[in-house]
Symmetry: C2
Subunit: 360 residues, 2 copies
């Protein structure tokens, strides 16, 4: 391979591995590279479970020995207390065993059908052994410097990918935790709102899927639905918890929950635009008579238009202190009456068909 | 270099780079490796600012040409609209220029004093050009396959590190955003509490530093202080906002803010143990007469004991509807009276000395 091809090849490999959204997808091409460019007939990546008792196969390529022992490893993983894994716990560099019959660390490997093996530790940023990269041959083989170099590069790439995925998982968990904590805070103020939030979030997700929204478009909708009433934390008890109907002045106060919600949501700087749009727009009306901005028609975000139907449907089909819950048929009639008035006329019939399947 | 040394060398390099807490610390050893193992006399890593108009030097090693042009690059970065950076925008692989006088992409480089250069794109997981790795010579040089391979490995490592750091930054931002949103929600319920939170968080940090707490120990304290009253979101307005003194029944309700706060904080699963301990313990007393658990002495977390002084100090030195703020001298006398009763006697004098320097 010439200079430019070699460089393109390696950088392409690491770039693809590093951009992968999951471990197996990032690791598999690097395993294939090992089998193609070294004497190894097969290669596998093992990663530990949280209790670190076993290292399970996360990705494998090439030929595995057809022995009962190897089938057990494939199914159940490599126990952490094998001599090889104990050696990797201590290792600061890859280990090369040209003949597994001659090293105490590879005890058990000849019986698996593995005659030579290279093994590298993959560690987390804080130095913990996360997993192991193995490549093997069926006949004894003296591993060469060039093979050792490639093996090291590949292990570095996997460690990098594992590190990035762990950090991304941490970010995802932090975002979910923030939403959960805000949800709990709202629930502590007003239990009824919370039951409503859970139902209406699920309904909005089903509606979006029925409308053919992609998973990527559904995610902002889910977050927006979950947070749509979060501004009610700021509404005084005298209004928020009033058992009867609200006076016009009290309605003015209640309506301020949209602006308060937008303020809280803006503090969550990781919220996608669609979620913000839903929080901002969920009380707008198709005819422009809604609040807080009085937007009309397609000025209203698609998230806001979709969600308005779910929100009103859930309110009408729930008991209130001053009236019983409406039936599906009564509610459907009301939604049709308000089609093109309060609601986007293109959405109403699909929504009614969707809710018919579970109601009445 | 023999096989094991070569492997150890490369894996050690990538492992060190990947574990680095910052970009320069991770990149510098890889730059040194390039200068040691290739014909390059110098190497540098450039990364773009958010507006992508300029790529600034983030790390550099080896010899740079002593030209005015190169000094300008070191000070101000490489503009994004130079031919080389435009070529890297499109490049899927490293680019090698054996003689900068002969390639349109290296226009301007001969004047900088750079006779040959290798340049590699560093991209984010979503493919955006994040930065560029450069290595150069003062005389024309035909870059060899082995040099190209090492260069590619090094660039992959930097891309991986940059990706992990970006994901970690995202996680950090999500955690801070969650705290900010909860803080805003509390502020919306009770403005007075918020002013108290800001003052008391700052006071607790100063106190901890005075006591010689490490930065690592101060971080949980800061988060706990910021959230210590978050459970007040759950307290009804009739109690939370009552202008006069609370009745015994109302005090029982008010005290429930500790349990509510612990509940919200548990939802923030990223909160460190010290922060949880502060929220749980900040109303415990040294003599066991506090709430909610009636812990005594060193059963109370050090965060709780430290913070209790700050919390009471701020309350006494602030105006209340039913009394004026106390002076520092009056407050110090009260804290001394309660030393070993409400407060850890080992902390009281240090705290009084700390607050003397800013009060009265």
């Amino acid at each position: 391979m010439n200079r430019d091809a070699a460089a393109r090849d390696l950088l392409g490999l690491t770039a693809a591995a590093l951009a992968s959204p999951d471990l197996a997808g990032g690791v598999t091409p690097t395993l294939e590279k090992l089998v193609n460019d070294t004497a190894a007939v097969g290669s596998a990546y093992f990663q530990t479970d949280t209790r670190a008792l076993t290292y399970s196969v996360r990705a494998a390529t090439g030929a595995m020995p057809q022995t009962a022992g190897m089938q057990a490893v494939a199914a159940h993983g490599l126990p952490a207390d094998t001599p090889l894994m104990r050696a990797l716990e201590r290792a600061q560099a890859p280990l090369f065993f040209d003949d597994t019959r001659r090293s105490p660390e590879t005890q058990g490997f000849p019986e698996l059908g593995v005659a030579s093996v290279a093994a590298a530790p993959v560690r987390s940023a804080d130095g913990r052994l996360l997993g192991a990269f193995l490549m093997h041959t069926f006949e004894p083989h003296v591993w060469q410097t060039q093979e050792a170099t490639l093996f090291s590069v590949v292990c570095g790439t996997v460690a990098a990918l594992a590190g990035r995925l762990a950090a991304e998982e941490e970010a995802r968990a932090a975002r979910e935790a923030a939403l959960r904590a805000l949800g709990l805070a709202l629930e502590a103020r007003d239990r009824e709102t919370q039951g409503h939030t859970d139902r209406v979030t699920e309904l909005a997700m089903r509606f979006a899927r029925r409308l053919g929204w992609t998973a990527a478009a559904c995610e902002p909708l889910r977050w927006g639905a979950y947070l749509h009433d979060i501004g009610k934390i700021a509404i005084p008890d005298a209004v928020l918890l009033k058992p009867g109907r609200l006076s016009p002045e009290e309605w003015t106060v209640m309506r301020s929950h949209v602006d308060a919600g937008v303020r809280f949501a803006q503090a969550l700087n990781f919220l996608p635009a669609g979620a913000m749009a839903l929080i901002q727009d969920h009380h707008e009306r198709w005819d422009g008579g809604g609040y807080p901005r009085g937007l009309a028609g397609e000025q209203i975000s698609s998230e806001g238009r979709l969600f308005a139907l779910c929100d009103v449907y859930d309110a009408l089909t729930s008991d209130r202190p001053y009236r019983s819950a409406w039936t599906h048929a009564q509610t459907a009639e009301e939604l049709r009456r308000l089609s093109g008035v309060q609601f986007d006329p293109e959405l109403v019939e699909t929504f009614i068909a969707l809710t018919e399947t579970v109601a009445d």
